[in-house]
Amino acid sequence: MKEMSGAQILLEVLQEQGVEVIFGYPGGAVINLYDCLPDYSCRHFLVRHEQAAVHAADGYARATGKIGVALVTSGPGATNTVTGLATASMDSIPLVVFSGQVPTPLIGNDAFQEADIVGITRPCTKHNFLVKRVEDLERIINEAFHIAGSGRPGPVLIDLPKDVIVGKCAKKVATKPQLKGYNPNYAGHPGQIQRAMEVIFKAEKPVFYVGGGVVLGNAARELTELARALQIPVTTTLMGLGAFPEDDPLSLGMLGMHGTYRANMAVTKSDVLVALGARFDDRVTGRIDEFAADAQIIHVDIDPTSISKNVDVDIPIVGDITDVLGKMLELVKSAPAKAKACSAGHNAWLEEIARWRDQHKLSYQQDEIIKPQFVVEKIDELTAGKNPIISTEVGQNQMWAAQFFTFTQARSWLTSGGLGTMGYGLPAAMGAQVAFPERLVIDIAGDGSIQMNSQELATVVQYNLPVKVIILNNGYLGMVRQWQELFFDKHYSATTMDHAPDFVKLADAYGALGLRATRPAEVEPVLKEAFAHPGPVVVDIVVAAEENVYPMVPAGEAISNMLLV
């Protein structure tokens, strides 16, 4: 059989894996790989910072459901991926990241551009590999894709010493990965599912608490069908937005620290809480002993470690969310009388929820200064029916986007939930735009966060990725300022961003279109112009500086304990 270099084997295997896109940045350790790259069909996007390569692969993965791929060099190239990996790891996003490494004989010698990236990234990857022999390369890449994409997904890093990249061996025929210690359980236990359904059928005040697992497991359809069949209200976490259509009357919106009043009240008063692909994060539960204190808890998750980690669960079900919801739907269909009685029995509960809804709606006062919430509502209005993809940065901008945009589609929402990574939004939007060149991709940004990866404006211009960056420019690290206002006597320490660049000029310098709105009446025309423009756009929207995100549950309080204005 013909011998190939490690670089060629790698690119062949990527082709076999169906990889169409790589986000990367070259350097000495991977120069041989880059040399072969143009011979293969895979498209490479040269980012401007390796962190952005990983976020772009992550945005690509979230939007498509495929595995995102990034490629970087050794040492600083590799260490620059850490934030991206940790971001993906916290949100269970499937990635395979390749890093160059110094030649195996030099490992451990403090060679030029050596970093122990396998050691560094061990806690922020699902798994990682150092390839020691070119003969192992093919097997390891296939294992990496298998690990990244199956079970609870996550990022996998493969460290490639230079001698492995240039070393030669014969390529084998791909075989299914065999991993002794890895065999995720997909099929939910029928007995447990039956028990859960008995409890759900009897519930008077049930709530579906839906996390990112429903999006990752592509179970939005099953969830929607089940919720409607049984008339069970649905609240989603930040990560679960889009898993259930928010224009459905059963939608409670988001729960947690900045959740809606009705979602937090409904969960607090529920008698049965069904957690679906969610992990009882502290930003969701608030004070844990008061979280759904009177409810029986059913928890469905593919990852056994998520179950009974933060709260005790009455009925745990380990399995793939689509499988479990599918089996639940079968039980509903096989017992139509029970299902009917169940859904009819929720009328009083749904009325109570409607009262909570009417008592405290998400709201703001629009006056002569632009309110950030108004901007998000306008974006929502102007993109209705256009199936846009929304990414965000982190902070108030992220929360307003989560609250005021009406999410109706899964995989159209890219936000760093678990790690809360400022600088995520633009590169993630870029990755999604690569996957969907025709869709409108919007990064709802903050003036602070955008500066963390604004160099990627060069990338979007180079590849004509028509991403729209909408900066809610409040001149502050707003979310931190909000905490300082509420809990530190307005002591604004290091949160004033009074030396920001002129974002319109910045866009211009990169060759993107820069626009600005300073008065409420300008918002709509400026957004329309941005959305109609065929290329990348940065819109600087000067918003009220000291607007706060409400409702807000102070850290450590029960989620029913909301500050409302």
Binding site: V118, R122, P123, K126, K180, G181, Y182
Partner: protein
């Protein structure tokens, strides 16, 4: 509460570090950890002694299972396991009545003398943890100069796991 967890892992570089960093990263305790190859060279057996309530032990077992290189995790409760620890002790004792007394005590604990020098003595003790602890308490007055102690190794008894 003390718990003994037996973990079968793939015998690859970095596995020990994955397990150690899992414990440190999640704030779990390791009282002792021993690891060595099994009869199958591609697999190692680790015995981890840890402390925690049932909730923590459940998380530890699940988190260990989640590691890709971990093949099997078994919690060995007191009643179903055989366990041993070993300790090597060096005493500074000259010949004389004190040494005779020490040797007698070592014999009581079925210890073995590994080296008998003019001014020192090296002893090996093997047994269940309780026995080792008791022996160390009794031997403490004899000016222990150096000590090296293994962690616990354990196996499930036949038919119990």
């Amino acid at each position: 509460m003390k718990h003994i967890i037996s973990v079968l892992v793939e015998n690859e570089f970095g596995v020990l570090s994955r397990i150690a960093s899992l414990f440190s990263g999640r704030g779990f305790n390791i009282e002792s950890l021993t690891v060595a190859e099994t009869e199958d060279k591609s697999i190692s057996n680790m015995t981890i002694v840890t402390i925690g309530d049932d909730h923590i032990i459940e998380q530890i077992t699940k988190q260990l299972n989640k590691l890709i290189n971990v093949i099997k995790v078994v919690e060995l409760t007191e009643s179903v396991q055989m366990s041993r620890e070993m300790v090597l002790l060096k005493f500074a004792v000259n010949s004389g009545p004190k040494r005779l007394e020490l040797l007698r005590l070592v014999e009581v604990y079925q210890g073995r003398v590994l080296e008998l020098g003019v001014r020192s003595l090296i002893v090996e003790l093997t047994g269940e943890r309780a026995k080792i602890e008791a022996a160390l308490e009794v031997l403490a007055p004899f000016a222990i100069k150096e000590m090296s102690r293994t962690g616990m190794v354990a196996l499930a008894r036949d038919g119990k796991n």
